[in-house]
Amino acid sequence: MSMDKETVRKVASLARLRVTEEELDKFAPQLSGILEWIEQLGELDTSNVEPLSNVVDIAPVSRQDEINDGNIQSAILANAPEAQSGYFTVPKIIEQADN
């Protein structure tokens, strides 16, 4: 299938990407071309093939559910664009009630 501008706009919004009209004009044909190209997989009958998600013959292991670090609040916050009183801060999103 091809991806028209509206589909790309919707996908971009799902992916939290702001796109301009000019970008939509550029991305829509590119993404359509890629989709049409990958659709050649339709030539293959895969009805009896199990999907593959783990490529190696080794089952992933789980570690013990034990706390093995801590007291690293400042290291965690060191890269924060904005931090205050030990918290990440974000723009205010709750409007004050008028009444």
Binding site: A12, A15, R16, Q30, L41, L44, P51, N79, P81
Partner: protein, 497 residues
């Protein structure tokens, strides 16, 4: 001291041990080379102070008889590896100011073995590419040029920074990551060797995630034995990565020392003979098969019938995983934030991601978001997972008959910068020979073989059974011995790199 930059890791370690020179001298020679070749833009961040400090510490360890297996050896570290206290960007504007508070497991192991970091090498943004052109910090230039032609060429990618640094003698080896060919392809285009081990051989912990079921650490160096030595000191189980394998790591350098391929069965897959492939690529491939035959190997025609579906399956699965992995970049906890008067939190997310990511990253995020979205998930994502199994079965079936598979790593030599701009599919086709084994999680290596008539290097690719990097290295060593490839970029020869 320029000759110090031409040594192999193996011989440099022997000389360091014999006190013929110090690590400080060795590292300084590479720092000087890095300064001279800065126009290649192989590094996003050069770290000469750290390198000299590490070199001094290395010399002190050696004086006390406590040197590790890589002690004092200068390496380029791909900027996908988190390095504690040293900016790590994934070549993306969205991480332009990110300083990791921790060290990746692989770099930690390398530093524990004594390795020295010359700098953080350039890559395509988030390792998404085959040319190192999509870096937010500018493209890397291949140290090789066509004969009598000064046009700048791509170094391959995504580990193009490490490849260019090693080829131009700025580092003795480099780390790479290989999701679809990002080690083997730039190694081939820069005339050096590079290996991607089996998925799970090295820990992915602390490597910035791109497509988690494909990503694997690996190395680039100028000889097969040097690759083996580096890989030895990166591999092994890590409790912090549940997909790293808790199985013994073989002696990789030992495998390269014999290089004995007598009786080895080498498969040549007919499906890799693609339409429009330049004659020189075919000739190089046949030469490789003959070199192995001459050393006692048996060359067998094999079939990997689903090869042509590898790329389209890859370009569904990888963008899908990438779109999930890159969802974490939201401008809240680290990295870039666009915060001039955001109207809402959503507005901040969207503007941050719009200005933080480059075009190729955005394309892959959108493609992956689409193929994972309700109504399309089964038709695209699950379908591609089924094709992935067919491709893996092709390889496993072939490996019932042969020990290794020999193919070209690239459909062409290095080409001019900008040639595939705005044609994503043409760009993706560069990966036609490298991607299939990534779908199956297999180890693969590129080793330099010949020069084209234009004077550019080509390589050969050896693909191995799961966990059998040793046979891959051994076969590559046999090719290396027969090829006797000792060409280097003319800029390096004249010392004007």
């Amino acid at each position: 001291m320029t000759e110090l930059t031409h040594l192999t890791i193996k011989s440099a370690i022997e000389s360091l041990e014999k006190k013929e020179f110090s690590s400080a001298e060795l590292v300084q020679a590479h720092i000087d080379a890095t300064e001279k070749a800065r126009h290649l833009n192989a590094f996003i961040t050069e770290t000469p102070e750290i390198a000299l400090e590490q070199a001094k510490a290395s010399d002190a360890r050696r004086a006390k008889g406590e040197a590790g297996p890589l002690d004092g050896i200068p390496l380029a570290i791909k900027d996908m590896y988190c390095t504690k206290g040293v900016r790590t960007t994934a070549a993306s504007n969205i991480l332009h100011n990110f300083v990791p508070p921790y060290e990746s497991t692989v770099t930690d192991k390398l530093f524990n073995a004594g390795a020295v970091m010359i700098g953080k090498s350039n890559t395509d943004e988030f390792a998404m590419g085959t040319t190192t052109e999509s870096s937010a910090f500018g493209n890397t230039i291949n140290p090789w040029k066509r004969k009598g032609d000064n046009t700048d060429l791509i170094p391959g990618g995504s580990s193009g920074g490490s490849a260019a640094a090693v080829a131009a003698r700025m580092a003795m080896g480099g780390t790479g990551t290989d999701t679809g060919g990002s080690i083997r392809q730039p190694a081939a285009m820069c005339g050096i060797a590079g290996i991607r081990p089996t998925y799970g051989r090295c820990s992915r912990w602390g490597i910035i995630a791109y497509a988690s079921s494909f990503d694997q650490a690996g190395v680039l160096a100028r000889t097969v034995e040097d690759c083996a030595l580096l890989l030895q000191n990166m591999s092994g189980f890590d409790p912090k990565d549940s997909t790293s394998a808790d199985i013994p790591v073989p002696d990789f350098p030992a495998a390269t020392r014999t290089g004995d391929v007598k009786g080895l069965k080498v498969g040549v897959p007919k499906e890799f003979r693609v339409e429009g492939m330049p004659e020189i690529i075919e000739k190089n491939w046949q030469k490789g098969a003959q070199w192995l035959k001459d050393q006692g190997a048996e060359v067998v025609d094999i079939s990997l019938p689903h090869t042509k579906y590898a790329l389209p399956a890859y370009y569904i699965l990888v963008p899908s995983e990438a779109s999930s992995n890159l969802a974490r970049f939201d401008g809240v906890r680290y990295g870039l934030r666009e915060h001039d008067d955001p109207e809402t939190l959503l507005d901040m997310y969207e503007r941050t991601r719009a200005s933080g990511f480059g075009d190729e990253t955005k394309r892959r995020i959108m493609l992956g978001t689409f193929t994972l979205s309700a109504g399309y998930y089964d038709a695209y994502y699950v379908k591609a997972q089924r094709v992935r199994r067919l491709i893996q079965q092709d390889f496993l079936k072939a490996f019932e008959k042969v020990d290794v598979i020999l193919t070209p790593p690239t459909p062409s030599a290095a080409y001019p910068i900008g040639e595939n701009d705005d044609d994503p599919i043409a760009m993706y086709l560069n990966d036609v020979f490298t991607v299939p084994l990534n779908l199956a999680g297999l180890p693969g290596m590129s080793v330099p073989s010949i020069l084209t008539p234009e004077g550019l290097p080509l390589g050969l690719q050896v693909i191995g059974k799961p966990w059998d990097e040793a046979t891959v290295l051994k076969t590559a060593r046999a090719i290396e011995r027969a090829a006797g490839f000792n060409a280097m970029p003319s800029s390096v020869q004249t010392g004007a790199a």
